[in-house]
Symmetry: C2
Subunit: 209 residues, 2 copies
């Protein structure tokens, strides 16, 4: 052991990033304090500025990371070779897996894109995202024309799928109180949604014969 440090576990730069992630997702940009980030990182406030210059820049790092976490799910829709129903199931499964591991990201992203929409779109939306979306829309339209799914506006279908995946995470405090259930019980409900949401969507759009 040639290391005389008092167990900093990892370098300061990374600790700041970890602390900032927690504080920003908890409090939002306006509610977060550089002091609180420094405290959670176990270092001095000046050091936060040393590594990341400004609150805005540090926030950008965190937001970029958070937003990009949500993107792979969309790409996934294309992967599957199967029928439209299987692709939707795959998307829901993948998307909910990611959100379950990062339950604070959805509200965090929703808020930032309201706070400064221009920055959000110019800086964080990858150029190919719109193309991918168009592909998904085309896939839905195609499936409807071939009679594989019911006749629904593909834009509404996309909104509905995202809504069913995301909503319980952004509305958790209210839902949990309204339904009067405990923390572990709500976790169980969330875990059930992979199955429930897929089933719900497929029931809604698959042609009944």
């Amino acid at each position: 052991m040639d290391n005389s440090e008092t167990v900093p576990e990892i370098n300061a730069e990374q600790r700041i990033l970890d602390a900032a992630r927690r504080v920003f997702t908890r409090k939002g940009f306006d509610g977060a304090r550089m002091q609180e980030i420094a405290d959670e990182a176990g270092i001095n406030k000046a050091l936060v500025h040393y590594y990341y210059r400004s609150k805005e820049k540090l926030f950008s790092e965190i937001f970029r990371e958070a937003f990009s976490t949500m993107l792979p799910a969309i790409a996934h829709v294309f992967m599957g070779q199967g029928a439209i129903g299987q692709k939707i199931e795959l998307f829901v499964e993948k998307y909910l897996s990611i959100v379950l591991q990062n339950p604070f990201i959805p509200l965090f992203v929703l808020n930032e894109m309201h706070r400064s929409p221009e920055t959000f779109f110019n800086e964080f939306i990858p150029p190919d995202l719109k193309i991918r979306i168009k592909g998904v829309i085309a896939m839905f339209t195609n499936a409807a024309q071939k009679g594989e799914i019911a006749d629904i506006d593909p834009r509404h279908l996309m909104i509905n799928i995202m809504a069913l995946c995301v909503f319980p995470f952004v509305a958790r405090p209210m839902l949990q109180r309204m339904l009067d259930i405990s923390d572990p019980e709500f976790e169980k409900v969330l875990a059930e949604r992979k199955q429930v949401v897929s089933q719900f969507i497929l029931n809604a759009i698959m042609i009944k014969n």
Copy 2:
């Protein structure tokens, strides 16, 4: 004309309230500034404190008003005498009507209940709300037992209905960019949702014969 004022339109107290509603729903509690509220009300900052003592108290007024706007829809579910399907249609219709007229309230409420959950539940949730929710849950359970709707956990059904109603309003900036549509076009999509959401839900849960 015995009034020598320069068209204040209405008393200062009300103008402050109107300005505060706009600023708080736009920026949230942490992002809002008393100065900005005073400016939008066209009066001095000191006057805001004269009428509402503190930022917290002013915010409470606004939040109470916003949250109570969303409540009548839930009560409405009981009104209908019809079948479960009609009651759901009535709820969606009523709920979306309210949100369409107050598109900023959902995200505003979601954020505040994350910011200080304790205050939210102790101060703003009416005591009878949980009872009403239990009634709705029982209604769903009953309908499922009688075979009127598919076998779905009533809690998930309630989450799904709320999700489909609320989500496009809280995610509007992202959805609009992702789908690459203009403001009036998105308004049209929102207006369509009364029909679309009802149909989607009923397709998902009504027993096919």
